[in-house]
Amino acid sequence: MSEIRQTPLHDWHVRHDGRMVDFAGWRMPVQYSGLMDEHVAVRECAGLFDVSHMGEIRLSGSDALATVQRLTVNDASAIEDGQAQYTAMVNDAGGIIDDLLVYRVNADEYLLVVNAGTTEKDHAWITSHAQGDVTVVNESSDWAQVALQGPVAERVLGRLVKEDLSAIGYYRFVISEYGGLPAIISRTGYTGEDGFEVYLAPAHAADLAEAILKAGETDGVVPAGLGCRDTLRLEAGMMLYGNDMDESRSPIEAKLGWIVKPDKGDFIGRDALVRQKADGTDEKIVAFKAVGRGIPRHGYPLLDGAGNRVGEVASGTFAPTLKEGIGVGYVTSALATPDNEIFIEMRGRSIEARTVKLPFYRRQR
Protein backbone atom coordinates (compact mmCIF):
# COMPACT_ATOMS: atom_id res chain seq x y z
CA MET A 1 0.00 0.00 0.00
CA SER A 2 1.39 3.38 -0.93
CA GLU A 3 1.70 6.24 1.47
CA ILE A 4 -1.27 8.40 2.40
CA ARG A 5 -1.01 11.67 0.50
CA GLN A 6 -1.97 15.18 1.53
CA THR A 7 -3.57 17.78 -0.69
CA PRO A 8 -2.19 21.34 -0.88
CA LEU A 9 -5.07 22.31 1.44
CA HIS A 10 -4.16 19.88 4.23
CA ASP A 11 -2.95 22.52 6.69
CA TRP A 12 -5.89 24.74 5.78
CA HIS A 13 -8.29 21.93 6.73
CA VAL A 14 -6.57 21.40 10.05
CA ARG A 15 -6.69 25.14 10.72
CA HIS A 16 -10.44 25.10 10.05
CA ASP A 17 -11.01 22.15 12.41
CA GLY A 18 -11.54 19.62 9.63
CA ARG A 19 -11.81 16.06 10.90
CA MET A 20 -9.24 14.26 8.77
CA VAL A 21 -9.73 10.72 7.50
CA ASP A 22 -8.07 8.50 4.90
CA PHE A 23 -9.98 8.32 1.64
CA ALA A 24 -8.79 6.73 -1.64
CA GLY A 25 -5.17 7.10 -0.55
CA TRP A 26 -5.59 10.70 0.56
CA ARG A 27 -5.89 12.44 3.91
CA MET A 28 -9.16 14.37 3.52
CA PRO A 29 -11.61 16.26 5.75
CA VAL A 30 -14.79 14.26 6.34
CA GLN A 31 -16.46 17.18 8.10
CA TYR A 32 -15.82 20.50 9.83
CA SER A 33 -18.81 21.86 11.80
CA GLY A 34 -20.91 18.76 11.13
CA LEU A 35 -22.16 16.77 8.17
CA MET A 36 -25.79 17.84 8.48
CA ASP A 37 -25.02 21.57 8.81
CA GLU A 38 -22.65 21.41 5.85
CA HIS A 39 -25.19 19.52 3.73
CA VAL A 40 -27.87 22.12 4.44
CA ALA A 41 -25.42 24.98 3.77
CA VAL A 42 -24.70 23.59 0.29
CA ARG A 43 -28.41 23.25 -0.53
CA GLU A 44 -29.28 26.72 0.81
CA CYS A 45 -26.10 28.84 0.53
CA ALA A 46 -22.84 27.23 -0.56
CA GLY A 47 -20.12 24.87 0.61
CA LEU A 48 -16.42 24.94 -0.19
CA PHE A 49 -14.87 21.56 -0.99
CA ASP A 50 -11.28 20.48 -1.51
CA VAL A 51 -11.31 18.08 -4.44
CA SER A 52 -7.60 18.27 -5.14
CA HIS A 53 -7.34 14.50 -4.83
CA MET A 54 -9.07 14.10 -8.21
CA GLY A 55 -6.80 13.17 -11.11
CA GLU A 56 -6.11 15.22 -14.24
CA ILE A 57 -4.73 13.54 -17.36
CA ARG A 58 -4.03 15.62 -20.46
CA LEU A 59 -4.08 14.26 -24.01
CA SER A 60 -2.58 16.46 -26.69
CA GLY A 61 -1.77 16.05 -30.36
CA SER A 62 -3.61 15.65 -33.63
CA ASP A 63 -4.82 12.19 -32.55
CA ALA A 64 -6.02 13.30 -29.10
CA LEU A 65 -9.69 13.27 -30.11
CA ALA A 66 -9.37 9.89 -31.83
CA THR A 67 -7.81 8.50 -28.64
CA VAL A 68 -10.54 9.94 -26.41
CA GLN A 69 -13.14 8.52 -28.79
CA ARG A 70 -11.60 5.04 -28.67
CA LEU A 71 -11.23 5.10 -24.87
CA THR A 72 -14.57 6.55 -23.79
CA VAL A 73 -18.20 5.60 -24.40
CA ASN A 74 -19.67 9.07 -24.97
CA ASP A 75 -19.20 11.05 -28.19
CA ALA A 76 -16.41 13.52 -27.48
CA SER A 77 -16.74 14.95 -31.01
CA ALA A 78 -20.05 16.46 -29.92
CA ILE A 79 -18.48 18.98 -27.52
CA GLU A 80 -16.95 22.33 -28.38
CA ASP A 81 -13.92 24.15 -27.06
CA GLY A 82 -14.70 25.11 -23.47
CA GLN A 83 -17.25 22.35 -22.96
CA ALA A 84 -17.12 19.35 -20.60
CA GLN A 85 -18.77 15.95 -20.96
CA TYR A 86 -19.59 13.19 -18.48
CA THR A 87 -18.42 9.82 -19.77
CA ALA A 88 -16.85 6.51 -18.82
CA MET A 89 -13.97 4.30 -19.86
CA VAL A 90 -14.85 0.61 -20.12
CA ASN A 91 -12.93 -2.58 -20.85
CA ASP A 92 -13.66 -5.01 -23.69
CA ALA A 93 -16.42 -6.66 -21.65
CA GLY A 94 -18.05 -3.27 -21.02
CA GLY A 95 -16.95 -3.15 -17.36
CA ILE A 96 -16.42 0.37 -16.07
CA ILE A 97 -12.76 1.28 -15.58
CA ASP A 98 -13.72 4.74 -14.39
CA ASP A 99 -16.28 7.48 -14.83
CA LEU A 100 -14.84 10.84 -15.73
CA LEU A 101 -15.21 14.29 -17.22
CA VAL A 102 -13.68 15.12 -20.60
CA TYR A 103 -12.82 18.80 -21.05
CA ARG A 104 -12.22 19.95 -24.60
CA VAL A 105 -9.56 22.66 -24.44
CA ASN A 106 -9.25 22.74 -28.23
CA ALA A 107 -9.41 20.31 -31.15
CA ASP A 108 -5.99 18.87 -30.24
CA GLU A 109 -6.15 19.04 -26.47
CA TYR A 110 -8.39 17.27 -23.98
CA LEU A 111 -8.19 17.19 -20.19
CA LEU A 112 -9.61 14.09 -18.51
CA VAL A 113 -10.67 14.48 -14.88
CA VAL A 114 -10.74 11.09 -13.18
CA ASN A 115 -11.35 9.66 -9.74
CA ALA A 116 -8.61 9.85 -7.11
CA GLY A 117 -8.42 6.13 -6.41
CA THR A 118 -8.20 5.21 -10.10
CA THR A 119 -5.81 7.87 -11.41
CA GLU A 120 -2.78 5.57 -11.72
CA LYS A 121 -4.83 2.77 -13.27
CA ASP A 122 -6.48 5.16 -15.71
CA HIS A 123 -3.17 6.72 -16.69
CA ALA A 124 -1.69 3.29 -17.42
CA TRP A 125 -4.80 2.25 -19.41
CA ILE A 126 -4.83 5.45 -21.47
CA THR A 127 -1.09 5.30 -22.14
CA SER A 128 -1.26 1.68 -23.28
CA HIS A 129 -4.09 2.49 -25.72
CA ALA A 130 -2.83 5.80 -27.08
CA GLN A 131 -1.94 5.56 -30.77
CA GLY A 132 -0.57 8.04 -33.28
CA ASP A 133 0.17 11.67 -32.56
CA VAL A 134 -0.93 11.95 -28.94
CA THR A 135 0.95 12.74 -25.75
CA VAL A 136 -0.53 11.55 -22.46
CA VAL A 137 0.56 13.39 -19.31
CA ASN A 138 -0.63 12.74 -15.77
CA GLU A 139 -0.85 16.31 -14.46
CA SER A 140 -2.58 15.36 -11.21
CA SER A 141 0.11 16.76 -8.93
CA ASP A 142 0.17 20.03 -10.88
CA TRP A 143 -3.43 20.88 -10.03
CA ALA A 144 -5.31 21.65 -6.89
CA GLN A 145 -9.08 21.74 -7.18
CA VAL A 146 -11.51 23.75 -5.10
CA ALA A 147 -15.26 23.39 -5.58
CA LEU A 148 -17.79 26.01 -4.50
CA GLN A 149 -21.24 24.46 -4.66
CA GLY A 150 -24.61 25.98 -3.87
CA PRO A 151 -27.02 28.72 -4.92
CA VAL A 152 -24.74 31.62 -3.91
CA ALA A 153 -21.65 30.14 -5.60
CA GLU A 154 -21.76 32.41 -8.65
CA ARG A 155 -22.22 35.54 -6.57
CA VAL A 156 -19.41 34.72 -4.13
CA LEU A 157 -16.83 33.40 -6.58
CA GLY A 158 -17.65 36.30 -8.91
CA ARG A 159 -16.16 38.69 -6.34
CA LEU A 160 -12.77 37.00 -6.61
CA VAL A 161 -12.20 36.28 -10.29
CA LYS A 162 -12.23 38.61 -13.26
CA GLU A 163 -14.31 36.30 -15.44
CA ASP A 164 -18.02 36.96 -15.92
CA LEU A 165 -19.28 33.75 -14.33
CA SER A 166 -22.84 34.28 -15.55
CA ALA A 167 -21.49 33.74 -19.07
CA ILE A 168 -20.28 30.22 -18.21
CA GLY A 169 -23.05 27.74 -18.95
CA TYR A 170 -23.64 24.38 -17.27
CA TYR A 171 -20.83 21.96 -18.13
CA ARG A 172 -18.79 24.80 -19.69
CA PHE A 173 -15.45 26.13 -18.54
CA VAL A 174 -13.03 28.97 -19.16
CA ILE A 175 -9.28 28.99 -18.92
CA SER A 176 -8.40 31.86 -16.65
CA GLU A 177 -5.68 32.64 -14.18
CA TYR A 178 -5.36 32.93 -10.43
CA GLY A 179 -2.36 34.47 -8.72
CA GLY A 180 -0.67 34.85 -12.09
CA LEU A 181 -0.83 31.15 -12.93
CA PRO A 182 -3.27 29.24 -15.16
CA ALA A 183 -6.59 28.22 -13.66
CA ILE A 184 -9.68 26.54 -15.06
CA ILE A 185 -13.12 27.67 -13.90
CA SER A 186 -15.73 25.05 -14.66
CA ARG A 187 -19.49 25.11 -14.03
CA THR A 188 -19.63 21.49 -12.86
CA GLY A 189 -20.05 19.67 -9.58
CA TYR A 190 -21.08 16.61 -7.65
CA THR A 191 -23.78 17.92 -5.33
CA GLY A 192 -26.91 18.54 -7.41
CA GLU A 193 -26.53 22.29 -6.89
CA ASP A 194 -25.28 25.03 -9.16
CA GLY A 195 -21.61 25.71 -8.62
CA PHE A 196 -18.08 25.81 -9.87
CA GLU A 197 -14.94 23.74 -9.76
CA VAL A 198 -11.72 25.74 -9.94
CA TYR A 199 -8.50 24.02 -10.99
CA LEU A 200 -5.44 25.99 -9.99
CA ALA A 201 -1.79 25.83 -8.98
CA PRO A 202 -1.32 23.92 -5.69
CA ALA A 203 0.64 26.83 -4.22
CA HIS A 204 -2.41 29.10 -4.51
CA ALA A 205 -5.10 26.70 -3.33
CA ALA A 206 -5.13 27.76 0.32
CA ASP A 207 -5.15 31.40 -0.72
CA LEU A 208 -8.23 30.88 -2.90
CA ALA A 209 -10.01 28.77 -0.27
CA GLU A 210 -9.46 31.43 2.38
CA ALA A 211 -10.54 34.20 0.00
CA ILE A 212 -13.76 32.33 -0.84
CA LEU A 213 -14.60 31.82 2.83
CA LYS A 214 -14.01 35.50 3.58
CA ALA A 215 -15.91 36.71 0.51
CA GLY A 216 -18.79 34.38 1.31
CA GLU A 217 -18.94 34.88 5.06
CA THR A 218 -22.15 36.91 5.01
CA ASP A 219 -23.66 34.62 2.37
CA GLY A 220 -23.38 31.53 4.56
CA VAL A 221 -20.46 29.83 2.78
CA VAL A 222 -18.88 27.13 4.94
CA PRO A 223 -16.09 24.59 4.44
CA ALA A 224 -17.69 21.27 3.51
CA GLY A 225 -16.22 17.79 3.84
CA LEU A 226 -16.41 14.45 2.10
CA GLY A 227 -19.22 13.33 4.40
CA CYS A 228 -21.76 15.76 3.01
CA ARG A 229 -20.30 15.43 -0.47
CA ASP A 230 -21.47 11.81 -0.34
CA THR A 231 -24.97 12.57 0.99
CA LEU A 232 -25.38 15.44 -1.50
CA ARG A 233 -24.32 13.37 -4.50
CA LEU A 234 -26.51 10.42 -3.55
CA GLU A 235 -29.57 12.65 -3.08
CA ALA A 236 -28.81 14.08 -6.52
CA GLY A 237 -28.65 10.55 -7.96
CA MET A 238 -24.98 10.66 -8.92
CA MET A 239 -23.02 7.42 -8.93
CA LEU A 240 -19.82 6.89 -6.95
CA TYR A 241 -17.06 4.83 -8.55
CA GLY A 242 -15.98 1.94 -6.34
CA ASN A 243 -19.38 1.84 -4.60
CA ASP A 244 -22.02 2.03 -7.31
CA MET A 245 -19.91 0.84 -10.21
CA ASP A 246 -16.65 -0.93 -10.87
CA GLU A 247 -15.11 -3.18 -13.53
CA SER A 248 -17.73 -5.86 -12.88
CA ARG A 249 -20.54 -3.45 -13.90
CA SER A 250 -21.29 -1.84 -17.25
CA PRO A 251 -22.80 1.58 -17.94
CA ILE A 252 -25.97 -0.24 -19.06
CA GLU A 253 -26.28 -2.00 -15.69
CA ALA A 254 -25.52 1.32 -13.96
CA LYS A 255 -28.35 2.96 -15.97
CA LEU A 256 -25.80 5.20 -17.65
CA GLY A 257 -26.95 4.09 -21.10
CA TRP A 258 -27.50 7.75 -21.97
CA ILE A 259 -23.73 8.30 -22.10
CA VAL A 260 -23.12 5.31 -24.41
CA LYS A 261 -23.06 6.42 -28.07
CA PRO A 262 -22.46 3.41 -30.35
CA ASP A 263 -23.24 5.51 -33.44
CA LYS A 264 -20.03 7.52 -33.01
CA GLY A 265 -17.94 4.62 -34.38
CA ASP A 266 -15.80 1.96 -32.80
CA PHE A 267 -14.55 2.18 -29.22
CA ILE A 268 -13.30 -0.22 -26.58
CA GLY A 269 -16.24 -2.19 -25.19
CA ARG A 270 -18.66 -1.12 -27.94
CA ASP A 271 -19.72 -4.64 -28.97
CA ALA A 272 -20.44 -5.70 -25.40
CA LEU A 273 -22.47 -2.56 -24.69
CA VAL A 274 -24.45 -2.77 -27.93
CA ARG A 275 -25.34 -6.37 -27.07
CA GLN A 276 -26.36 -5.37 -23.53
CA LYS A 277 -28.50 -2.52 -24.86
CA ALA A 278 -30.29 -4.94 -27.21
CA ASP A 279 -30.59 -7.99 -24.95
CA GLY A 280 -30.79 -6.34 -21.54
CA THR A 281 -28.76 -7.39 -18.50
CA ASP A 282 -29.56 -9.78 -15.65
CA GLU A 283 -29.17 -7.02 -13.11
CA LYS A 284 -29.51 -3.26 -13.05
CA ILE A 285 -29.05 -0.56 -10.48
CA VAL A 286 -32.18 0.74 -8.80
CA ALA A 287 -32.86 3.56 -6.36
CA PHE A 288 -35.05 3.07 -3.31
CA LYS A 289 -36.37 4.80 -0.23
CA ALA A 290 -36.88 3.06 3.09
CA VAL A 291 -40.57 3.06 3.99
CA GLY A 292 -40.01 1.62 7.44
CA ARG A 293 -37.71 3.30 9.94
CA GLY A 294 -34.13 2.51 9.08
CA ILE A 295 -31.17 3.60 7.06
CA PRO A 296 -29.86 1.50 4.17
CA ARG A 297 -26.11 0.97 4.31
CA HIS A 298 -23.49 -0.40 1.92
CA GLY A 299 -23.63 -4.21 1.82
CA TYR A 300 -27.08 -4.73 3.36
CA PRO A 301 -28.98 -7.47 1.46
CA LEU A 302 -31.99 -6.52 -0.69
CA LEU A 303 -34.91 -8.96 -0.72
CA ASP A 304 -38.06 -9.40 -2.76
CA GLY A 305 -41.51 -9.79 -1.20
CA ALA A 306 -40.99 -13.52 -0.78
CA GLY A 307 -37.76 -13.00 1.13
CA ASN A 308 -35.42 -14.05 -1.70
CA ARG A 309 -32.17 -12.18 -1.92
CA VAL A 310 -32.22 -10.04 -5.09
CA GLY A 311 -29.17 -7.87 -4.57
CA GLU A 312 -27.46 -5.63 -2.06
CA VAL A 313 -27.12 -1.97 -1.17
CA ALA A 314 -24.27 -0.27 -3.06
CA SER A 315 -24.68 3.19 -1.49
CA GLY A 316 -27.08 4.08 1.28
CA THR A 317 -27.51 6.91 3.72
CA PHE A 318 -29.89 9.00 5.72
CA ALA A 319 -30.82 11.79 3.28
CA PRO A 320 -30.48 15.10 5.17
CA THR A 321 -32.68 17.07 2.75
CA LEU A 322 -35.41 14.42 2.46
CA LYS A 323 -35.10 13.20 6.06
CA GLU A 324 -35.40 9.53 5.16
CA GLY A 325 -33.27 6.51 4.33
CA ILE A 326 -32.25 6.31 0.66
CA GLY A 327 -30.01 4.04 -1.36
CA VAL A 328 -29.09 2.44 -4.64
CA GLY A 329 -28.16 -1.14 -5.38
CA TYR A 330 -28.01 -3.74 -8.11
CA VAL A 331 -31.03 -6.05 -8.29
CA THR A 332 -32.62 -8.46 -10.73
CA SER A 333 -33.60 -6.33 -13.73
CA ALA A 334 -37.31 -7.15 -13.33
CA LEU A 335 -37.28 -5.27 -10.01
CA ALA A 336 -35.10 -2.41 -11.22
CA THR A 337 -38.03 -0.18 -12.15
CA PRO A 338 -39.81 2.44 -10.04
CA ASP A 339 -42.58 1.63 -7.59
CA ASN A 340 -41.70 -1.93 -6.66
CA GLU A 341 -41.83 -3.11 -3.09
CA ILE A 342 -38.52 -4.53 -1.90
CA PHE A 343 -37.06 -5.18 1.52
CA ILE A 344 -33.75 -4.25 3.07
CA GLU A 345 -32.29 -6.66 5.57
CA MET A 346 -30.92 -4.46 8.33
CA ARG A 347 -29.09 -6.32 11.01
CA GLY A 348 -31.57 -9.18 11.18
CA ARG A 349 -34.69 -7.11 10.55
CA SER A 350 -36.48 -6.73 7.24
CA ILE A 351 -37.40 -3.12 6.46
CA GLU A 352 -39.81 -2.26 3.66
CA ALA A 353 -38.54 -0.06 0.85
CA ARG A 354 -39.97 1.28 -2.39
CA THR A 355 -38.03 1.63 -5.62
CA VAL A 356 -38.07 5.14 -7.08
CA LYS A 357 -36.83 7.08 -10.07
CA LEU A 358 -33.57 9.02 -9.74
CA PRO A 359 -32.76 11.62 -8.64
CA PHE A 360 -34.06 11.63 -5.08
CA TYR A 361 -33.60 15.39 -5.02
CA ARG A 362 -33.74 17.95 -7.82
CA ARG A 363 -33.02 21.61 -7.20
CA GLN A 364 -35.53 24.29 -8.13
CA ARG A 365 -34.16 26.29 -11.03
Binding site: Q31, G34, L35, M36, G227, D230, T231, R293, G294, I295, R297, T317, F318, P320, R347
Partner: protein
Protein backbone atom coordinates in the same frame (compact mmCIF):
# COMPACT_ATOMS: atom_id res chain seq x y z
CA UNK B 1 -13.81 20.61 26.67
CA UNK B 2 -16.74 18.39 27.54
CA UNK B 3 -17.72 17.84 31.12
CA UNK B 4 -17.61 14.21 32.28
CA UNK B 5 -19.47 14.13 35.60
CA UNK B 6 -17.44 12.55 38.42
CA UNK B 7 -20.61 11.00 39.84
CA UNK B 8 -21.05 8.81 36.72
CA UNK B 9 -19.40 5.47 35.90
CA UNK B 10 -18.14 4.86 32.34
CA UNK B 11 -17.42 1.96 29.99
CA UNK B 12 -14.90 1.33 27.23
CA UNK B 13 -17.91 1.17 24.88
CA UNK B 14 -18.40 4.88 25.57
CA UNK B 15 -21.48 4.70 27.75
CA UNK B 16 -22.14 6.26 31.13
CA UNK B 17 -24.20 5.06 34.09
CA UNK B 18 -25.63 7.27 36.79
CA UNK B 19 -26.68 5.33 39.89
CA UNK B 20 -29.68 6.10 42.08
CA UNK B 21 -30.26 3.24 44.53
CA UNK B 22 -30.83 0.10 42.49
CA UNK B 23 -31.69 2.08 39.32
CA UNK B 24 -29.09 3.09 36.76
CA UNK B 25 -29.58 5.72 34.05
CA UNK B 26 -27.58 4.91 30.91
CA UNK B 27 -26.48 7.18 28.09
CA UNK B 28 -23.63 7.55 25.62
CA UNK B 29 -20.72 9.86 26.23
CA UNK B 30 -19.93 13.18 24.65
CA UNK B 31 -16.96 11.50 22.98
CA UNK B 32 -19.22 8.81 21.49
CA UNK B 33 -21.69 11.29 20.01
CA UNK B 34 -18.84 13.36 18.63
CA UNK B 35 -17.35 10.31 16.90
CA UNK B 36 -20.74 9.28 15.51
CA UNK B 37 -21.69 12.69 14.15
CA UNK B 38 -25.29 13.75 13.57
CA UNK B 39 -27.52 11.14 15.22
CA UNK B 40 -30.65 10.49 13.15
CA UNK B 41 -32.12 7.28 14.52
CA UNK B 42 -32.24 5.49 17.85
CA UNK B 43 -33.66 2.04 18.40
CA UNK B 44 -34.59 1.43 22.02
CA UNK B 45 -35.50 -1.76 23.91
CA UNK B 46 -38.98 -2.20 25.37
CA UNK B 47 -39.74 -1.47 29.00
CA UNK B 48 -39.61 -4.78 30.85
CA UNK B 49 -36.87 -6.25 28.64
CA UNK B 50 -33.94 -7.78 30.48
CA UNK B 51 -30.40 -8.08 29.27
CA UNK B 52 -27.04 -9.31 30.47
CA UNK B 53 -23.97 -7.12 30.84
CA UNK B 54 -22.27 -6.43 27.46
CA UNK B 55 -25.32 -7.56 25.46
CA UNK B 56 -26.48 -5.31 22.61
CA UNK B 57 -29.73 -3.68 23.75
CA UNK B 58 -30.32 -1.10 21.03
CA UNK B 59 -28.76 0.76 18.15
CA UNK B 60 -27.90 4.33 17.43
CA UNK B 61 -27.42 5.59 13.90
CA UNK B 62 -25.85 8.74 12.57
CA UNK B 63 -25.93 9.80 8.93
CA UNK B 64 -22.78 7.84 8.28
CA UNK B 65 -22.53 5.11 10.90
CA UNK B 66 -24.50 2.57 12.87
CA UNK B 67 -23.43 1.58 16.35
CA UNK B 68 -24.73 -0.95 18.87
CA UNK B 69 -25.58 0.06 22.40
CA UNK B 70 -24.03 -2.39 24.88
CA UNK B 71 -25.43 -2.93 28.33
CA UNK B 72 -22.91 -1.61 30.87
CA UNK B 73 -24.58 -3.79 33.52
CA UNK B 74 -27.16 -6.58 33.70
CA UNK B 75 -30.70 -5.49 34.45
CA UNK B 76 -34.29 -4.88 33.48
CA UNK B 77 -35.44 -1.83 31.55
CA UNK B 78 -37.78 0.28 33.69
CA UNK B 79 -37.98 3.38 31.50
CA UNK B 80 -36.87 4.49 28.04
CA UNK B 81 -36.31 8.03 26.82
CA UNK B 82 -39.19 8.38 24.36
CA UNK B 83 -38.06 11.85 23.37
CA UNK B 84 -35.14 10.33 21.46
CA UNK B 85 -37.48 8.61 18.99
CA UNK B 86 -38.65 11.98 17.65
CA UNK B 87 -35.56 14.01 18.48
CA UNK B 88 -32.54 11.74 18.10
CA UNK B 89 -30.36 14.85 17.63
CA UNK B 90 -30.79 15.49 21.36
CA UNK B 91 -28.00 12.94 21.79
CA UNK B 92 -25.61 15.33 20.06
CA UNK B 93 -26.86 18.30 22.04
CA UNK B 94 -26.98 16.99 25.61
CA UNK B 95 -25.56 13.45 25.80
CA UNK B 96 -24.75 13.48 29.52
CA UNK B 97 -28.10 14.65 30.82
CA UNK B 98 -31.47 15.12 29.08
CA UNK B 99 -30.55 12.69 26.28
CA UNK B 100 -30.19 9.70 28.59
CA UNK B 101 -31.25 6.51 26.80
CA UNK B 102 -32.65 3.94 29.24
CA UNK B 103 -33.10 3.38 32.96
CA UNK B 104 -32.50 -0.12 34.29
CA UNK B 105 -33.00 -1.92 37.56
CA UNK B 106 -29.71 -3.64 38.40
CA UNK B 107 -29.74 -7.39 38.73
CA UNK B 108 -26.16 -7.34 40.05
CA UNK B 109 -25.40 -3.95 41.66
CA UNK B 110 -21.77 -4.94 42.19
CA UNK B 111 -21.14 -4.66 38.43
CA UNK B 112 -21.35 -0.88 38.61
CA UNK B 113 -18.41 -0.57 40.96
CA UNK B 114 -16.15 -2.26 38.43
CA UNK B 115 -16.83 0.37 35.74
CA UNK B 116 -14.49 3.25 34.99
CA UNK B 117 -14.31 6.54 36.81
CA UNK B 118 -14.56 9.83 34.94
CA UNK B 119 -10.80 10.32 35.05
CA UNK B 120 -10.10 6.76 33.87
CA UNK B 121 -12.49 7.27 30.99
CA UNK B 122 -11.01 10.60 29.99
CA UNK B 123 -7.56 9.02 30.02
CA UNK B 124 -8.89 6.26 27.75
CA UNK B 125 -10.27 8.63 25.12
CA UNK B 126 -7.15 10.74 25.14
CA UNK B 127 -4.97 7.77 24.14
Amino acid sequence: MADYPDSYQYTAEHEWVSVDGDIGTIGITHHAQDELGDVVFVELPEVGASFEQNAAFGTIESVKAVSDLYAPVSGEVVEINEELVDRPEAINEDPHSSAWIVKVKFSDPGQVDALMTASDYQALIQE
